[in-house]
């Protein structure tokens, strides 16, 4: 099967330029103008649209196995494809926890044939309980590159040191490919009992807060331990201005630190919690205008490597409990690109770095994802109409859950086509299956 994508602008090795793209099989076979087009090729009109490498999300909760009422790998992958993603790193806080080769194999088997490549991460500690190491060597041998206890930071500094030291030895198994430890930075002794950012709004609303220091203290600790061990640390969902500053300093020092910011942390503040609607409850919590500004600056200047979704589906009735009793987390896969295009004043090349190139590199899947649109690359592509406006509606999403914090918001940038390994997963804005 061949596709002739014509009329659009590509994000190629030299930046954005007008070019047509010919896809045959799972590869890009030609890029340019006046391409010879085989008669059998299907024409895709990309006029006014941007052809970019498929997006990669380092951080999504697909809920399977264990909580298929909220999301399945199939529905999560469909939502991802609709959001322009061709690869998603699945978080290991499943039930049972993805902490052993057998569960990783299960996830991979279920993900077979879905609309997005699902790349399992695995827990650093057994059951994410923060006491025993998972079989990281076996897991690395079967291809796991990201280890995380996401949802919980590793509280014990001695254990974290041990995980870091052990991880640095695994490159012998992976053939030199980096093993990344993705940390959910939260010192629970400071945050526990808190349900939103500790600040002016939590005081007014009479809600227990989570101080910014719950995040930054763990970052400072991990940077100190990374300096000693040489481990590669990735900071998940950075939410504070101080956190951005800490990462900037660590990078200036030359440490192998990477970081992500979620869409919601650079588009929403704690003020939205004044409605007491638990759809705005998330960990780490939505913070202040100053934090949003610092994250945006960090995304612009490279301090923050990538945009992640922290896509966290929850069944509708679970968000109909009081704010302090409802689960934390919000949907992200289907709206992230539009929010980045709408809210960030960044060139499209930088958006592509943040949402495709860098996350693919960090996840170690840049042999097939996150590469510029050029001849010879795998056909993992997203075609987005950057000017098309649409209104976010949870019920219209492919996710089994509806907990988007952007309900009713009009955004700009609509994914029209997504190609996974040369096959259409999204066509004219609709999932192909």
């Amino acid at each position: 099967m061949s596709f002739f994508i014509h009329g659009g602008s590509i994000v190629g090795p030299k930046g954005v330029e007008r070019a047509d793209v010919l896809v045959t099989g799972s590869s890009i076979v030609a890029v340019g103008l006046d391409l010879p087009v085989p008669n059998s090729a299907r024409h895709i009109d990309a006029s006014g649209q941007i052809v970019m490498p498929g997006l990669v999300d380092l951080h999504a909760h697909l809920r399977e196995p264990g909580n298929e009422e909220a999301e399945t790998i199939e529905t999560g992958a469909r939502g991802a494809a609709l959001g322009g993603y061709t690869a998603v790193i699945a978080m290991p806080n499943t039930d049972p926890t993805t902490d052993s080769p057998s569960i990783v194999r299960d996830v991979l088997a279920i993900a077979e044939g879905t609309l997005c490549e699902i790349v399992p991460s695995a827990a650093m500690t057994v059951g994410r309980e923060g006491t025993l190491l998972t079989p990281m060597g076996e897991l690395a041998a079967m291809g796991v590159r990201i280890f995380t206890d996401d949802g919980r930071g590793v509280q014990d500094p001695a254990l974290m040191r041990s995980i870091m030291e052990y991880a640095t030895g695994l490159e012998a198994i992976t053939g030199g490919a980096p093993v990344v430890l993705a940390q959910h930075c939260e010192v629970e002794a400071l945050s526990s009992g808190g349900h939103m950012h500790e600040g002016e709004w939590s005081t007014r609303l009479g809600m227990a807060g989570q101080p910014a220091e719950a995040e930054t203290l763990m970052m400072i600790r991990d940077i100190a331990l990374a300096r000693r061990t040489g481990a590669r640390i990735h900071f998940q969902h950075v939410s504070t201005a101080e956190g951005v500053e800490i990462i900037r300093a660590a990078k200036a020092e030359g440490l192998a630190i990477t970081a992500e910011a979620t869409t919601h942390h650079f588009t929403l503040t704690d003020a939205v919690c004044s409605s007491y609607n638990p759809v705005f409850k998330v960990h780490p919590p939505l913070r202040t205008d100053a934090d949003v500004a610092a994250l945006r600056l960090g995304l612009a200047d490279g301090t923050i490597d990538c945009i992640a979704t922290d896509h966290a589906p929850h069944e509708p009735h679970t968000k109909e409990f009081p704010f302090d009793q409802a689960p934390a987390g919000m949907l992200g896969l289907e709206s992230a690109l539009a929010l980045a295009l709408t809210e960030l004043d960044l060139p499209i090349e930088r958006i592509v770095e943040l949402m495709s190139t860098r996350p693919a590199e960090i996840a170690g899947i840049n042999d097939r994802h996150g590469n510029p649109v050029e001849t010879g690359q795998r056909a993992n592509l997203t075609i987005v109409d950057p000017n098309a406006e649409w209104t976010v509606a949870g019920a219209a999403m492919a996710s089994r859950s509806h907990n988007t914090p952007y309900e009713g918001r009009t955004v700009r940038g609509k994914v029209q086509y997504t190609f996974l390994e040369g096959e259409l997963t999204v066509e004219q804005g609709k999932a192909t299956r």
Partner: protein, 309 residues
């Protein structure tokens, strides 16, 4: 007024309207038979997701004096403990046909959430650390009953501000009416960014007393020591309690108030409880009067509000 959720929603005009109505109901409560048919045929659900004998009894007395029917719901004997969502619980109660729901909940914001789901009027009887508007209204009524004007009135609120819905609502009410509010507490019992609440702050009760017209004491909870917020109740009493010595520093015309129940020997010395300036029982009496006014105003206007929607 469909709902009463916070003092801020009411505004100064709303407070005055309720005070005016309360004056009429005060007269009703003086009658040999203190009951009027104002809300005959109305059904009020009293939904207490957190124990509270005083507030619940006060509301129920108010409802009965207005001839409303009261339906009781308590969380301990309900499906709330079986994992039912708040929305399901509320919709179930509402399906039985109620005109108003009085809500007490340990979670801040629960009344706001309920008001989004319910057609019935929602009256906040205290939510988490957030708000307790009828307490503030009865406190305003009690001060006003003494003939005091709020403009420039110096009110000190002493105690655990951080975890107090009474403090938050009273700061709103008193400042809306023009009073100068000072919060007196150790830093550990003040919320972060306390300055955003619009009150002055002091950590020294002794310097505040001489310049105070109304001394409002809050209840100190045992669990604050377990959280290492204060070293001991004894130290709290010595540093912030209203002792006989401190009571002497207060002007003769000052008022001493407390939302109850009082911890004798902690926020107030037993000898001071019977001081003639103490207004605690007036507060309780006025609670019924003010809640009659609230129920009456909410239920007599709610229908009109809803038909507009």
């Amino acid at each position: 007024m469909k709902d009463l959720l916070t003092i801020a929603d009411l505004g100064a005009d709303g407070i005055h309207e309720i005070m005016h109505a309360a004056d009429s109901f005060a007269e009703v409560c003086q009658r040999p038979i203190p009951k009027v048919p104002a809300l005959r045929g109305k059904t009020i659900a009293s939904m207490f997701f957190e124990d509270s004998t005083r507030t619940r009894t006060s509301f129920e007395t108010a409802a009965k004096r207005l001839s409303a029917d009261v339906m009781n719901f308590s969380a301990s004997s309900s499906s709330v403990n079986k994992g039912e969502s708040l929305r399901d619980t509320v919709e179930t109660i509402e399906a039985m046909g109620v005109d108003a729901i009085i809500v007490r909940h340990r979670s801040s914001g629960a009344p706001q959430q309920i008001s989004r789901w319910a057609n019935a009027s929602v009256i906040n009887a205290g939510d988490g650390w957030h708000a307790h508007p009828t307490q503030s209204l009865l406190d305003v009524y009690t001060i006003r009953e003494e003939g005091r004007s709020f403009e420039g009135l110096r009110i000190a609120i002493v105690g655990d501000i951080s975890h107090s819905r009474v403090a938050r609502s009273n700061i709103e009410a008193f400042t809306l009416l023009g009073a100068e509010v000072t919060l007196v507490a150790p830093p550990t019992l003040l919320p972060p960014y306390v300055e955003t609440l619009g009150a002055k702050v002091s950590h020294d009760i002794d310097t505040v007393l001489a310049n105070t017209d109304v001394l409002y004491l809050l209840r100190m909870q045992n669990e604050r020591m377990d959280q290492a917020l204060v070293p001991s109740l004894g130290e709290y009493h010595r540093a912030f309690g209203l002792t006989p010595d401190r009571a002497r520093k207060l002007a003769d015309s000052a008022l001493i108030m407390h939302p109850g129940p009082m911890n004798r020997g902690i926020e107030i010395s037993p000898e001071v409880v019977d001081d003639p300036r103490v207004r605690v029982l007036n507060q309780v009496t006025n609670g019924v009067i003010v809640r009659m006014a609230v129920l009456y105003l909410v239920l007599s206007t709610a229908g009109a509000d809803r038909s507009d929607a």
